[in-house]
């Protein structure tokens, strides 16, 4: 593999590549994110942002209590988020655990949701603590069951111990399993990497290793997709595009619960990497509760009042 000509696959070249990245000033990054959070998005631009955000939602259920019934309900909602309004677009994907992929794919196909991909969390999600054999099998199973997107976790322990090459090699191997059958999203669990320097490093590592998307979090650890973390990842994606001409997607996940938060994410994208990324092919939001707030805000814009949660479906 060529790794965009940035590294040769060996330890030394990876270290030198990562160590040459410029640092991130914590105060400055947080100040920039806070400033962008003051953007006031009104009227027609708010309406556009809500619909765009809906198309970017990876509608997610990742619970031990997930059942086929729950997953089917989620798929129905994913295809037609508002059963009373056909102008509401479908979401970006349905995101489930490995063993629910076939249930989701079959049900989506059954209800006319062929256009909605199934994303599977993989590689011993959420902790990543398993052998490589297991992680590869986990991924292969999901693809065989019809997953078109793989959300893998990195080995944070290896990353924090400085064994970047191990993290890199895992991504490369999962990338190979995905082949051209599935898009690969690489989850950092930024709440465990803690520093913005680490987030920037992990971003460049994953992109060079072949990630199609870089994703903040599993949703199981807080803090998750904070605005400065997403900003740092978007800056990395922008810089990587300038270096390689490759467009890598970004997926914040965890903690984005309402329309205001989602719009703030779109503003970050718009003013950091630019409008080309305001597209579900390059930006997704991992969420479960968010979709209903988007729908309620959409109704509010149409009808002038904020309706009760009873007017949107619970799942």
């Amino acid at each position: 593999m060529s790794f965009y000509g940035l590294v040769d696959g060996g330890d030394a070249s990876l270290k030198s590549y990562l160590n040459n990245l410029s640092g991130v000033d914590q105060v400055g990054a947080e100040a920039r994110a806070a400033m962008l959070a003051t953007r006031s998005i009104k009227t027609s631009s708010k309406r556009w942002a809500i619909d765009t955000a809906i198309t970017m939602v990876d509608l997610t259920t990742l619970e031990g209590a997930d059942t086929p019934g729950k997953v089917k309900a989620l798929c129905t909602k994913a295809v037609r988020p508002d059963p009373t309004d056909s102008t509401v677009p479908s979401v970006g994907a349905v995101c489930v655990y490995n063993d629910m992929v076939s249930v989701a794919r079959t049900h989506l196909d059954l209800i006319g949701g062929q256009h909605v991909p199934v994303a599977a969390v993989s590689t011993a999600f959420p902790s990543g603590r398993a052998s490589m054999v297991v992680k590869i099998q986990d991924t292969q199973d999901a693809i065989d069951a019809g997953a078109a997107e793989i959300d893998m976790v990195i080995d944070r322990g290896a990353f924090l111990a400085g064994r970047y090459i191990d993290v890199f090699n895992e991504i490369v191997q999962i990338r190979q399993v995905c082949g051209d059958k599935a898009h690969l999203k690489v989850i950092f669990e930024t709440g465990e990497l803690v520093t913005y320097d680490n987030v920037r490093k992990a971003s460049f590592l994953a992109m060079a290793a072949g990630a199609d998307f870089i994703k903040t979090s599993t949703g199981k650890v807080a803090p998750a997709a904070t605005a400065p973390v997403v900003l740092v990842m978007l800056e990395a994606v922008r810089d990587f595009y300038e270096m390689t001409n490759a467009r890598i997607g970004v997926k914040p996940a965890g903690g984005i619960r309402n329309t205001k938060d989602a719009i703030k994410q779109l503003v970050l994208v718009n003013e950091t990497v630019g409008p080309d990324w305001l597209n579900p092919k390059l930006f997704r939001i991992g969420a479960s509760a968010l979709l209903n707030d988007l729908l309620m805000q959409r109704m509010k814009m149409d009808e002038g009042y904020y309706s009760s949660p009873q007017y949107v479906t619970m799942d």
Partner: protein, 479 residues
């Protein structure tokens, strides 16, 4: 479709501007004689007619201030003075949106800045100094520091209410009374502040506000009944004031111009550095005495920084200052626009390369696109003279030593910025720089606890913190 932000204007209904204003003398509004218009620089709309104070008004104001000083304010306990300052601070917070809208209308600065920076900081200065009022003997300024008397205060148009707060809060905390003149082009928030003084039931004459032009300022500076002059403005006028008070007993503090170096070393955090450069020069349209108007880039990262800077500049939103999403508003006056244009033209003539992002400037009002000049050397006028507008001169250096030498090679010395991820380098550089304020990995950060002021032609004395307080007290060493 792309993500265009629909207009998000702040409501103007919050403020009521009178068609005509007088002066605030002895706790009352007094009708003026001659008037001149104050306009909204973003639209050229006349907002109100402002009174021009002459000798009679200056005499009356100084007399009222003297009376309040001798009969009330200097006799009052620090604790009681502090209560008034706290009350003023709270009212300013309560009426913050009103102040912000008025400031933006009169000054042209974006509502985001008046709302998030100017007004909160102005209130913070009153809160901070309120705390000092009953603790002056513990400030390390001697056992029993005394106020100076009547302070004449002349403030600029770039941060009208904030500069008022910088001047009035320490003066009052220390027990002085004041005669303050806001700038000719931005008097409205000072006049609203006069209303706040009434609302706070501040004793009559403690704060007097006279509007006018340079002639009013000269009358205040030369008035024999004044004990202290505090001025913020141009170095040119500062020199005139220094000469005028030279043979008198007046104390004086001067906060003048600057041509700050923003020094970027090759180990800087690049993305945040770019933000800091933007904030350093385009904050408040560059109408900032401590603006980072000279960008000094280490040559081995110059290309990368400039590339990212230009990309970032394309995202700057220039336009209606009342729109909540505007980043850069209007130039404060036609006169200032002429000055900026003249210096930028000199940059072209001297061979520097000018670049601005594409932006549609409104047809009415005073506007200047965010601009950078590359290929600038120490010998260019745009590297030496204060432009006081959104114009950045970019220079390069080869070694850290050379960077410091270039940074110090200016008659000014108000502020400087250092960008590096290496702590030892930051500390070393800050020791070498001859500037009153040095920011490390940030720029244009202000706080009432931090003294602010310049070296060399950037001024005398400090404002803010304990140092600033000492400039309003007798029997203590002045810096």
């Amino acid at each position: 479709m792309s993500f265009e932000y629909a207009p998000a204007p702040e409501s103007r209904a919050l403020v009521s501007i009178k068609p005509k204003y007088g002066h605030f003398i002895g706790g009352k509004f007094v009708a003026g004689g001659k008037h001149f218009p104050t306009i909204n620089p973003a639209t050229e709309e006349v907002l109100s007619q402002i009174a021009l104070a002459g000798k009679a008004e200056v005499d009356a104001a100084v007399k009222a201030a003297r009376k309040a000083y001798t009969t009330t304010w200097s006799k009052m306990s620090g604790k009681e003075r502090g209560k008034y300052l706290y009350r003023i601070a709270r009212i300013m917070q309560e009426r913050a949106r009103e102040f912000a809208v008025l400031e933006t209308l009169d000054n042209g600065k974006p509502i985001r800045e008046s709302r998030d920076t100017d007004i909160p900081l102005a209130a913070a200065h009153f809160f901070y100094h309120a705390g000092w009022a009953d603790k002056l003997e513990y400030a390390g300024l001697g056992t029993s520091p005394k106020p100076l008397g009547v302070a004449g205060q002349i403030i600029p148009w770039n941060f009208p209410l904030l500069m008022l707060a910088w001047k009035v809060a320490p003066a009052l905390a220390a027990g002085n009374t004041v005669v303050l003149k806001p700038a000719e082009s931005t008097p409205l928030t000072a006049l609203l502040f006069a209303e706040v003084c009434q609302q706070a039931e501040l004793p009559a004459g403690v704060v007097n506000i006279l509007t006018g032009d340079g002639s009013t300022g000269a009358l205040i500076v030369n008035h024999p009944g004044i004990d202290k002059i505090a001025f913020t403005g141009s170095t040119e006028v500062g020199k005139i004031i220094a000469r005028a008070v030279a043979s008198t007993n007046k104390s004086v503090t001067l906060e003048l111009g600057g041509k700050a170096a923003n020094i970027v070393f090759d180990d800087a955090p690049i993305d945040e550095t770019v933000e800091g450069i933007i904030n350093g020069i385009f904050f408040n349209q560059g109408h900032v005495c401590c603006a980072g108007s000279r960008l000094l880039l280490q040559e081995n990262v110059a290309e990368e920084v400039l590339h990212k800077l230009k990309n970032r500049m394309e995202k700057i939103r220039v336009g209606d200052p009342m729109d909540k999403n505007t980043d850069v508003g209007a130039i404060n006056s036609k006169e200032q626009l002429v000055k900026i244009t003249e210096l930028a033209t000199a940059g072209d003539a001297e061979g520097a390369e000018r670049w601005s992002p594409p932006c549609n400037l409104p047809a009415k009002g005073f506007w200047f696109a965010p601009t950078i000049f590359t290929g600038v050397t120490q010998a260019h006028r745009i590297a030496r003279e204060e432009i006081f507008g959104p114009v950045l001169s970019v220079l390069t250096f080869r070694t850290p030593q050379e960077g410091i030498e270039k940074a110090n090679n200016t008659p000014f010395g108000l502020s400087a910025g250092i960008w590096s991820e290496k702590g030892s380098r930051t500390l070393w550089a800050s020791q070498q720089l001859r500037a009153g304020v040095i920011w490390a990995n940030t720029f244009n950060k202000f706080d009432p606890t931090s003294p602010f002021g310049g070296y060399k032609e950037s001024g005398w004395g400090r404002e803010g913190g304990r140092h600033g307080l000492s400039a309003y007290l007798k029997g203590v060493s002045h810096e």
